[in-house]
Symmetry: C2
Subunit: 103 residues, 2 copies
Amino acid sequence: MFMHQGNMVRVGKKPVLSYVVACVTLFNSGKSEIMVRARGRSIPKAIETVGMLRRSFLKELVVKSVNIGSEDIKRYDGQGASVSTIEITLAKKEDAVQKVTQL
Amino acid sequence: MFMHQGNMVRVGKKPVLSYVVACVTLFNSGKSEIMVRARGRSIPKAIETVGMLRRSFLKELVVKSVNIGSEDIKRYDGQGASVSTIEITLAKKEDAVQKVTQL
C-alpha cells in the first residue's frame, strides 16, 4: 500500500504526547488511515504513541498492520550502518468495517 | 494463537547475536514457528534479531505476524507503570506455504 507523506507521523525525539496530538490532528482533518513510523531507539515510543491514542483519544482505532524492517543509514563518520524500523498503520474502526464489507 | 514457553525467545539485555542463536537453536530443534518477544527499550533489539536471522541465518524465514501492545508493570518504588511490548511470530517459509494451501 502506498502511503504518502500527508498521512504519516514520524516518531522521533519529542515527547510521546506530541505524536499523539499529531495523529489526532490527522484523523480530525479527515484522514481515515494513517501511518506511524519510527527508527531505532524511537520504536518503543511509536508503540507507546499508538497505545496512548487507543486508550485515551480514539477508542475506535484499529491497528491494521505492523511492518518491521531495516534501513541503511550513513553515520557522521561516513560508515554505513543498519537501523531497525517499524511502520504501524492505523484506521478508524468504521472504515475498517467498511473495507471488510466491500470484499 | 497460543504459544507456549518452549517456542518463545524473550529479548532483553544480552547482545543481539545471543537471541539470534536462541532462535536458530529452536528452529533446528524442530519447531516450525517461534515467537520473539520484547518489552520497552529492548524492542528495537527484537527487530534487529529478526533482521539478522533473515539476512544471515535462515533466509526462508517469514514474519507471520507482529503484535504490539502494553503491559502493566510495578516499579521498584511500588508505583505502577505501563511498558510497550512487541511479539513477532516467525515461521519457516515451507510451513507458511503449507498453511496457505491447506485453506
